[in-house]
C-alpha cells in the first residue's frame, strides 16, 4: 500500500465516523448547531496536512494510519482501590480534600472520582442533557482565528468532559484534578470548559496517563478557559502517553485584566502529540506564563503550536519551553507572540530550548513575533544543544557517578522552565512525581 493510499484511508475513515456520529446526535441539544457546522467544515477541509500548515515538520496524515478499533471486550472497570493503588498520585490525593475527576477512555468515571461539595466550585458534565448557560455561551463563541480542522473535529465528536465554574470572589485556593486514563484501544473525544469568575483563584491539574504500553488510542481533547478579572489561576498538565497513542490537544484561553495565569505542560511519549495552545490577553495588567517541558524518546513526536496574543496594554507574558530529545524522537515547535496595536507596554519573552541526547534526534523550532505596537519589550530565542562534556567531566571528577551527573545536568537544563510552576500547593503534591520523572529521564527512561 502506498503512502497516498494510507493518507486517504485514515481521512476517509474519520469522515465516515463523523457522518455516523452526526446522524446520532440529538438535534434539540444546544451543541447540535455547532456540531453540524463543524461537520460541514471538516467535510470541506479534512485533516491538516503539509499543504495547508504553516510549519511543515509534522505530517499528521503520515503518522495517522487508521482509527484504532475500539476494543470489543472492554476490560472490566477498575475498582476504586485497585485504581488508587495503581497510581501513586491518586493515593496521595485521596488523603487531601481535593476534587478529582477521573475519565477513562474519554468518559467520566464517577465511582473513581473524588467529589466533595464545594461552595465556590460548581462541576457538571458535558454529557448532561441540559448544559449550564455559561458553558453553552463559552462553547459557542469563536475562540481564536487559529481554530483549525482538529478543533472542528473535537467540536463535532466531543462526548464527555467537565464543566467547571469557579465562582466570584473565591479566595480559598482549591486544587481540582482532571485525570485521564487510556485503558482501551479506540478513538476518544472530550472537551472541558472552565469558567473563572472575577476575583477567583483556583489550581487545575490535568493528568493524562496511558495505562498500558500497548493501548492503541487516538484522541482529540480541548480545554476552553474563560478567565475573568483579578484572578489567580495555576494550571499544570502532566501527560505520560505510551509510544503508540496519537493525541490532539487544544487549549484556548481568554484572560481578563489584572489576572495571573500560569499554565505548564509536561509531556512524554506519544507516536504523535499535537499541542495547540492559543491564549488571548484581553484585559490590561495581566501576567501570564505559558510554558512546558517535553521529554521525547523512542520514535515519539511532539509538536507544539503556541500562539499568545496581547490584545490590551500593559500585559506580560513568558513562554519558556524546554525539550529533551533522545533516540529517533522529534520535537517540533512553532511559537508566535502577537502584539496588537493597542497593546502598548507589552513585555513578552519566549524561549525554546532543546537538549539533544542522540545523533538521530531532531528538533525544529520557529519562534515568531508579530508586533503592531511601538512601545513594547519583546524577545524570543531558540537553542538546540547537547549535554556539555566539560560539565559532565567536572561533576565526575568530584566522584559523582555518570547517571547522577547526567541527572544533575538534565535537572539543571529543565530547572528554569520548572520554576514556572508557581503554586506551592501544586508542588507539594506534585514534587515527588517530578523528582521521579527526572530520575527516570536521567537513566534514559522517558516513559514518565
Amino acid at each position: 500500500m502506498s503512502t497516498t493510499d494510507i493518507q486517504i484511508s485514515a481521512e476517509e475513515q474519520i469522515l465516515s465516523y463523523c457522518k455516523k456520529n452526526i446522524a446520532t446526535q440529538d438535534k434539540k441539544h444546544c451543541f447540535y448547531n455547532s456540531r453540524l457546522d463543524a461537520y460541514e467544515l471538516f467535510k470541506r477541509d479534512g485533516l491538516p496536512g503539509v499543504k495547508n500548515e504553516n510549519w511543515k515538520y509534522t505530517n499528521i496524515l503520515q503518522k495517522l494510519e487508521s482509527i484504532p478499533v475500539r476494543s470489543q471486550t472492554h476490560s472490566a472497570p477498575l475498582n476504586v482501590n485497585n485504581f488508587i493503588n495503581n497510581f501513586d498520585i491518586m493515593r496521595k490525593l485521596r488523603d487531601t480534600n481535593d476534587t478529582v475527576l477521573v475519565f477513562m477512555d474519554g468518559k467520566m468515571q464517577e465511582q473513581l472520582s473524588l467529589l466533595y461539595e464545594k461552595r465556590n466550585i460548581e462541576i457538571s458534565s458535558l454529557k448532561d442533557d441540559v448544559i449550564p448557560e455559561w458553558a453553552n455561551k463559552i462553547n459557542n463563541k469563536k475562540h481564536s482565528e487559529n481554530e483549525d480542522e482538529l478543533f472542528n473535529l473535537n467540536t463535532l465528536l466531543m462526548e464527555d468532559g467537565a464543566l467547571i465554574n469557579v465562582k466570584k470572589n473565591n479566595t480559598r485556593v482549591e486544587n481540582v484534578y482532571i485525570v485521564h486514563v487510556g485503558n482501551n484501544n479506540g478513538f476518544y473525544n472530550y472537551r472541558h470548559i472552565i469558567n473563572i469568575e472575577d476575583h477567583a483563584q483556583v489550581n487545575i491539574i490535568e493528568l493524562k496517563i496511558s495505562n498500558k504500553s500497548d493501548i492503541d488510542a487516538l484522541y482529540t481533547s480541548s480545554i476552553i478557559w474563560s478567565i475573568g478579572d483579578h484572578c489567580v489561576v495555576n494550571n499544570v498538565k502532566y501527560q505520560a502517553h505510551n509510544q503508540i497513542t496519537i493525541g490532539f490537544n487544544q487549549q484556548y484561553a481568554d484572560i481578563g485584566s489584572n489576572t495571573e495565569f500560569n499554565s505548564f505542560t509536561i509531556s512524554s511519549g506519544s507516536k504523535l502529540l499535537r499541542e495547540s495552545r492559543n491564549i488571548n490577553c484581553n484585559g490590561s495588567n495581566s501576567n501570564i506564563s505559558i510554558s512546558g517541558v517535553n521529554l521525547l524518546d523512542g520514535n515519539s513526536h511532539i509538536d507544539t503550536l503556541l500562539s499568545v496574543r496581547h490584545k490590551a496594554p500593559n500585559t506580560i507574558s513568558r513562554e519558556k519551553y524546554k525539550s529533551i530529545i533522545n533516540d529517533n524522537a522529534k520535537g517540533v515547535f512553532q511559537g508566535n507572540i502577537i502584539v496588537d496595536q493597542i497593546a502598548q507596554k507589552t513585555i513578552a519573552k519566549q524561549s525554546i530550548d532543546a537538549l539533544i541526547l542522540s545523533s538521530h534526534a531532531e528538533h525544529d523550532a520557529k519562534p515568531e513575533l508579530e508586533i503592531y505596537a511601538d512601545d513594547v519589550q519583546c524577545g524570543h530565542g531558540a537553542t538546540t544543544g547537547q549535554i556539555s562534556q566539560d560539565s559532565l567531566f567536572y561533576l565526575k571528577s568530584r566522584g559523582i557517578p555518570e547517571d547522577e551527573a547526567r541527572r544533575l545536568l538534565i535537572h539543571a537544563f529543565l530547572t528554569d522552565a520548572l520554576d514556572e510552576i508557581k503554586d506551592k500547593k501544586i508542588l507539594e503534591t506534585f514534587g515527588d512525581v517530578m523528582n521521579n520523572m527526572l530520575n527516570r529521564v536521567s537513566k534514559g527512561n522517558f516513559n514518565v
Partner: protein, 246 residues
C-alpha cells in the same frame, strides 16, 4: 604513593606526553613548571580521566592501583583530586547540591555512612568559613557569576571536603590577585599532612612562596627534564627556561 610511570599520551596523533614519569611520596609537595605547551595540563587531565586523550603507554598508580583502568568518578573516590584551572560553570545546579552529591558519592563509595543534612551543612559551613566563603556563595549556582578568586576558593573547599590523598593543582594561581592567592595558598597549606600529597602545576614562582614545595620539576616536550629543590624555581624566575632546554 602516587606514581606515574612511562606515560605516553596523544591527542589526534600528536604525542603530548612522552614516557612521562614522576614518583610522589606521602606528604610530599611537587611543583611542576614549564613553558606553555609542555604538557602540564594534559598530565593533570589524563590523571583525572578526561576523555579526548589516547593513552598509548604507561601507568598512573595511586597506592599501587592503576587509575587508568577507572572512570573519573572512581578515581575521585579513590582519592585523586584535580583543582581545575578553569572551574566549570553549571547554571541550575546550586553549589550546595553539587557538594552534597559529591560528598555522598565519596561516602558511599568508601562504605561510610552518609551524613544527615544538618551534619552536612555544619561541615560545609565550617570548611567554608576557613576560606572566607559565605552562605550566599554556596546557595548560588555552581561557579556561575563567581569571580576568579571565588572559583578557586570553591575548588579548595571541595578539596577540603573530599579529603583526597593526592591533589593536582592545575595553575590554581592563574587569574588571582595577591590577596586571593594568599587565601587559596593558606587553604592548601592547611590541608598539607603526612598522608596527603600535592602536585602543583604553575608558571610562577610566586605561588611557591606560599606553598613550599619539596621538589621542583621542569617539564618540557612531554617529560621532566630537570628536578631540584625550591631553589630551582627561584633560579627559573631569574634566568628563564633557556638554560635547561637543550
Amino acid at each position: 604513593m602516587f606514581n606515574v610511570s612511562n606515560l605516553t599520551v596523544s591527542v589526534e596523533d600528536k604525542e603530548i606526553l612522552k614516557n612521562f614519569s614522576i614518583d610522589v611520596g606521602p606528604g610530599e609537595v611537587h611543583a611542576i613548571m614549564g613553558p606553555n605547551g609542555s604538557g602540564k595540563s594534559t598530565l593533570a587531565h589524563v590523571c583525572a580521566g578526561k576523555e579526548d586523550y589516547t593513552v598509548l603507554n604507561g601507568e598512573v598508580l595511586l597506592n599501587d592501583e592503576n587509575l587508568l583502568d577507572l572512570d573519573p568518578d572512581e578515581r575521585s573516590t579513590r582519592g585523586l583530586f584535580l583543582a581545575f584551572q578553569y572551574p566549570i560553570e553549571i547554571p541550575g545546579v546550586t553549589t550546595m547540591t553539587f557538594l552534597k552529591s559529591s560528598l555522598e558519592a565519596h561516602y558511599k563509595a568508601n562504605g561510610k555512612e552518609v551524613l544527615s543534612t544538618p551534619d552536612f551543612m555544619k561541615l560545609v559551613r565550617e570548611k567554608a568559613a576557613e576560606l572566607n566563603i559565605d552562605d550566599d556563595m554556596i546557595r548560588r549556582p555552581l561557579n556561575v557569576g563567581f569571580s576568579g578568586g571565588e572559583k578557586k576558593r570553591n575548588e579548595i573547599l571541595q578539596m577540603a571536603l573530599l579529603d583526597p590523598k593526592i591533589c593536582i593543582l592545575d595553575e590554581t594561581d592563574s587569574g588571582l590577585d595577591i590577596d586571593a592567592l594568599r587565601l587559596v595558598a593558606e587553604g592548601v597549606n592547611k590541608l598539607r599532612s603526612e598522608s596527603r600529597s600535592f602536585i602543583v602545576i604553575t608558571h610562577y614562582q610566586r605561588l611557591l612562596d606560599y606553598i613550599k614545595p619539596d621538589y621542583v620539576h621542569i617539564m618540557y616536550k612531554g617529560k621532566i627534564i630537570e628536578t631540584g629543590d625550591s631553589t630551582l624555581a627561584l633560579d627559573l624566575e631569574k634566568s628563564g627556561y633557556n638554560n635547561y632546554i637543550k
